[in-house]
């Protein structure tokens, strides 16, 4: 009986979230989706989006896990400040993020000017797309992973060390096994955010089909040129995101029994 009450209370918000997505699918002619998959620009946008977002996830997991571990253990005196710094990209508008990246890595940027002298140019490259996506998506992973890692009791790690495990072995066989769910959830959030990134990308990386035009950019410009093309791109993006999230949830549920301590 109580769950009915809860559903009724949340229904307006649920409707706002689901109705637009359902409308998007219903208003897109299915044949048009298949036809647009044959279009080179669409395929380029999909391929670039997947390539850059996967690379972003790799970078974020590689460099973000140590930060997440740091946050989880809170041994550092500046931990609160680190938390705020890592929260900023989520609070800032993506356009601000793009502008900031330009000021740092643009041709006249703080670091960019020096790199330009070495012949390295960052803006308007696929690497710039990865950098923009990393900037906005990293905090999602770090926060989720930190939460997962903080759930692992420190005594367990100490016990493993006492039994002779190296720090790396401890992390791999004890900590990771127990923090698994938080980390995978963080990866899913990070990937989804990176896939949908638009504002920072168009300002820092620009928009060029084949090189820097990701799916969100293609949808934005396609919307003005041809509504059908934009709809098909939007539906494809929705489908990819849906599949990622469902897959992650299935994995998490499938392994939740195994990770019970």
């Amino acid at each position: 009986m109580q769950s009915w009450l809860l559903i009724a209370g949340g229904l307006p918000l649920l409707a706002l979230l689901t109705l637009p997505l359902v409308s998007l699918v219903l208003k897109t002619p299915p044949l048009a989706v298949l036809a647009s998959l044959g279009d080179a620009t669409t395929r380029q946008a999909i391929a670039l989006s997947l390539r850059t977002s996967l690379l972003t996830v790799l970078v974020v997991v590689l460099f973000g896990t140590p930060l997440a571990y740091l946050l989880a253990r809170k041994r550092l005196p500046g931990a609160p400040l680190l938390e705020v710094v890592l929260d900023l990209p989520t609070v800032l508008p993506p356009a601000v993020a793009g502008l900031a990246l330009l000021m740092a890595f643009g041709r006249r940027g703080l670091l960019g000017a020096w790199l330009a002298g070495l012949g390295i140019q960052l803006p308007f490259t696929p690497l710039a797309v990865v950098m923009a996506q990393t900037f906005v998506a990293a905090p999602y992973y770090i926060k989720a992973a930190a939460l997962g890692l903080s759930g692992v009791s420190y005594e367990l790690e100490q016990a493993a060390a006492l039994d002779g495990a190296t720090p790396l072995e401890t992390f791999r066989y004890v900590t990771l096994r127990l923090a698994w769910q938080g980390i995978v959830g963080g990866i899913a959030l990070c990937w989804a955010r990176a896939l949908g990134e638009f504002g920072a990308t168009i300002i820092f990386a620009g928009n060029l089909p084949g090189r820097t035009q990701t799916m969100p950019l293609a949808v934005y410009l396609g919307f003005e040129l041809d509504l059908t093309r934009a709809l098909t791109l939007a539906v494809i993006l929705l489908a990819i995101s849906f599949v990622i999230l469902v897959a992650v949830r299935t994995i998490l549920r499938g392994y939740s029994v195994e990770s019970e301590p």
Binding site: R107, R108, F124, I202, G206, N207, F223
Partner: protein
């Protein structure tokens, strides 16, 4: 209570349970800091609101508060009209004291799409005939009510320090030059592509010119103003924009390169009152004002060519 036994353990209650005086002090300090931060943000918000009320970009500073029935005129105009229409709006407000002019500046293609999706506005000024025709086809504009009010020309711009040493139009196709254009869905982007095609047909530049220039394009922006911004920031070596984008604002100091008339087909700007305008009378008055000698003079001051 009667007897206090020093040896019997008593559970700490009240203040002692929460850590006693040092913890109380720490909590008070933290709470004070949080309150200070919130007050600072609140003060900032109030200051911004007050400054905004005293000096709105759309209203003259000393304008008395309008009567309760103050009307708003909403104008959708191409991004390239930002400065000129801003001034036209101010003049219109001066001659119509109870009217407040509100602008939406963006790429013409974006505005036309918004109107087709139901955005409420009174006037539409486009940077090309194609988007005005699209608006007519979508029912936003009644066919026959549109009139040409200005023409514009293209110009090549480069950053003030000219990093790629752009000296002539031929340099646009030189390998290694970073060129920024607007997307072909934006009027100025299509005009630029037409210009490059025309130059390719000229023996001076040769048939490979257009391909060479397009190979140099690093980005396709959604608005002409983004192209101007990236050039003036020095992120790209050159851009193709309207001649009117480099008049006026001192912040946009860029180098310019004229484009000969034979390659430079004038961009045609039509204006029309909208079919479902909330203020149809005001809309027609504004259109008439833009077409009047006074309005045309303002546009000429920003570098536009006359409508006729």
């Amino acid at each position: 209570m009667s007897r206090q036994s020093a040896t019997r353990w008593r559970a700490p209650v009240g203040d002692r349970a929460l850590g006693g005086r040092p913890a109380r002090l720490r909590r008070a300090l933290r709470r004070g800091l949080a309150v200070l931060c919130l007050l600072a943000v609140g003060a900032l918000a109030v200051a911004c609101a007050a400054a905004g009320a005293a000096q709105s970009t759309n209203e003259p500073a000393a304008r008395p508060a309008g009567p309760p029935g103050a009307r708003t005129l909403t104008i959708f105009a191409a991004a390239s009209l930002s400065e000129s229409f801003g001034e036209l709006g101010k003049q219109f407000e001066t001659s119509h004291p109870d009217v407040r002019v509100s602008f939406n500046f963006a790429g013409s293609q974006q505005l036309r799409a918004q109107l087709a999706d139901g955005a409420r506005a009174d006037v539409f000024a486009s940077a090309n005939v194609a988007e005005m025709n699209n608006a007519v086809a979508a029912g936003s504009v009644v066919s026959g009510t549109q009139q040409t009010f200005a023409h514009n020309r293209l110009i090549v711009i480069f950053p003030p320090d000219n990093p790629a040493r752009i000296g002539s139009l031929a340099d646009l196709a030189r390998p290694g030059v970073k060129l920024d254009l607007a997307d072909m869905t934006v009027p100025v982007g299509q005009y630029a592509l037409d210009m490059l095609a025309r130059m390719s047909q000229d023996p001076t530049y040769g048939p490979g010119f257009r391909a060479g220039a397009l190979a140099n394009v690093v980005s396709l922006e959604d608005s002409v103003k983004s192209v101007v911004a990236k050039v003036s920031l020095g992120e790209v070596d050159a851009g193709i924009v309207y001649a009117t984008d480099v008049t006026g604002s001192p912040a946009r100091r860029v180098g310019t390169l004229q484009v000969p008339d034979r390659f430079n087909q004038p961009a045609t700007y039509p204006i029309a009152p909208l079919a479902h305008a909330p203020q149809p009378v005001l809309a027609q008055q504004f259109v008439d004002f833009v077409l009047s000698p006074a309005g045309q003079q303002v546009l000429a001051g920003y570098g536009f060519l006359p409508g006729r």
